[in-house]
């Protein structure tokens, strides 16, 4: 049984002027347990919508999403979302923010939660910052809190929606190394959406390249580069070839979008 399975998922929204806008069209994907799958595609191809669907926040117009063979009906503790904008509650300290998911589960007592939280704060290298407030942290640190929060509920699946897009280029690089380290430690299945081809190749076991709107799977590319990967791998021929290939695919899509009907995301 596959861990995650998307079968012919179609997402469309009714338009105010009549007709419908198809964001995702006939999307098919199978993800194994423990895999790191990145999804990369042009703007507006519905990547973020896909994550919402897998998470259960949005229902597909047709098609189905299965997790461990069961239909996805709503959010559930076996998956957790990491947001591009961090989405931390500004009035809570780091500790309280990481605890948010656990609180909502209502499964553990306060001391139990505190234990778990400190474990994950350590995992994301934020010891010493427990009592800080989000506004006192840098972007990279805030996202680490977001990651810790997602990990704290011990999900089977991590859904990451362009989590590093709001960070500066250098922090982004550092964070992707960090994420890889954390993932090797935590061993979750990860769906990682990104704009950045570099990120997509660096982090992935497999890369899903999406077409422009309506979003479909254009190609699924396995990444056979050995792990653990250091940043210098980005200069190696295997990496460069993959990057080139994905860029070519995306270029086609971008031309197609610009040349044809101009659809705004």
């Amino acid at each position: 049984m596959r861990h995650i399975e998307l079968q012919q998922v179609i997402v469309s929204f009714p338009q105010p002027g009549g007709g419908e806008l198809r964001a995702v069209d006939g999307f098919e994907l199978k993800v194994e347990k423990g895999e790191f799958v990145t999804i990369v595609g042009p703007s507006g191809c519905g990547k973020s919508t896909l994550l919402s669907i897998v998470d259960g926040l949005v229902q597909p117009s047709s098609g189905q999403v299965l997790i461990n063979g069961a239909l996805v009906k709503g959010p559930s503790p076996d998956r957790a979302l990491v947001f591009q904008e961090f989405a931390l509650l500004p009035w809570r300290t780091v500790v309280d923010n990481v605890m948010l998911g656990l609180e909502l589960q209502r499964k553990y007592t306060k001391p139990q939660m505190k234990d778990k939280v400190s474990h994950y704060i350590q995992m994301v290298s934020l010891e010493g910052f427990e009592k800080h407030y989000p506004h006192q942290l840098s972007g990279g640190m805030r996202q680490r809190v977001g990651i810790a929060r997602a990990l704290a509920v011990n999900p089977e699946i991590l859904l990451m929606d362009e989590p590093f897009a709001a960070l500066d280029a250098q922090t982004r690089e550092i964070m992707s190394v960090e994420l890889q380290r954390i993932w090797e430690q935590a061993k979750k299945t990860v769906l990682f959406v990104t704009h950045s081809i570099d990120e997509a190749v660096y982090l992935a076991d497999r890369i899903v390249v999406m077409s422009g709107r309506p979003g479909r799977v254009k190609e699924i590319i396995p990444v056979n580069l050995p792990r653990p990967r250091s940043l210098s791998i980005k200069d190696e021929p295997g990496f460069v070839r993959l990057r080139r290939h994905i860029w070519d695919l995306l270029e086609q899509e971008v031309q197609r979008q610009v040349g044809g009907k101009e659809t705004k995301s």
């Binding site: 998470d55 926040l57 959010p75 559930s76 503790p77 957790a80 979302l81 947001f83 904008e85 989405a87 931390l88 509650l89 500004p90 009035w91 809570r92 948010l100 998911g101 609180e103 909502l104 589960q105 407030y133 506004h135 006192q136 509920v153």
Partner: protein
């Protein structure tokens, strides 16, 4: 910074003292002949006399009772109302002109109505305090709710939070700073309402006493009472300001 506060106290203090001195000598020196403006020394003296005679504190207690009742009412009505109006745009838009019209109406103007509806004395005063305080409270609360970043709602939902969770963990804490400002403003308006209503509608309470002394042309006692009311207003607002600061500091500096 320290020098500025020192300067401020120094110059301000001197000005106040100069004022008091001028006031004290104005009448004896015949500077003011047209009216009785009394003198600070007499005012202080009358304060102790009145206090001893039980003319001050019992009335103050009555006034405070009315204030607390009215203010408490405005909290339990104003905060939920603000939450609903802020959360559900529909209701906000529907009720907006009505509430605005009510807001612009001077509560004093409604006194004849309120007195008949709620009775002379306590009833009318409590309703005036309520009307005064409830508006800033629910307006500020609704604004606070409206300004909640939807991403926080989404985050809580993605972790399986129910509507009640969202309310408790996002809307309530998020709206607290503006709510506190609203409450502080409400206190000021509530005190105002309390005095106004008592002056108009009753013989009890501080306002009632002010009206009495006014009617009997006892300037000194009048000024004493005005000073007391002034101090009361000042302390209440200052207290609320401190509470607001505390709440603000206890959570996050730099955010709002």
């Amino acid at each position: 910074m320290k020098e500025k506060t020192w300067q401020r106290t120094w110059i301000g203090g001197t000005a106040v003292i100069a004022f008091l001195v001028l006031w004290e000598i104005a009448m004896p020196l015949g500077l003011v002949k047209v009216a009785d403006i009394s003198r600070p020394s007499l005012v202080v003296k009358s304060f102790f006399e009145l206090a001893a005679a039980g003319e001050i504190f019992p009335h103050l207690v009555i006034s405070l009772k009315e204030f607390i009742a009215g203010f408490f009412l405005s909290l339990i009505v104003g905060i939920p109302l603000g939450v609903v109006l802020g959360r559900y745009r529909f209701s906000g838009l529907l009720l907006d002109p009505l509430l605005m019209a009510l807001y612009t109406m001077p509560r004093m103007a409604m006194m004849p109505l309120l007195v008949v509806w709620f009775g002379v004395g306590m009833g009318a005063t409590i309703s005036v305090v309520f009307l005064g305080a409830v508006f800033p409270i629910f307006i500020n609360t609704s604004v606070g709710i409206r300004e909640i970043d939807p991403i926080w709602v989404r985050a809580v939902r993605s972790f399986g939070g129910t509507e009640w969770d969202i309310f408790k963990k996002v809307f309530l804490p998020g709206a607290v700073p503006p709510m506190m400002s609203g409450i502080r403003l409400g206190v000021g308006r509530g005190i105002l309402g309390m005095v106004v209503s008592e002056m108009y509608a009753s013989t009890a309470g501080i306002g009632g006493q002010i009206a009495n002394y006014g009617n009997s042309f006892r300037t000194t006692e009048l000024i004493t009472l005005i000073a007391i009311v002034s101090l009361l207003g000042f302390f209440m607002v200052d207290l609320m300001r401190r509470v607001e600061e505390r709440v603000r500091r206890g959570r996050m500096e730099g955010w709002q």
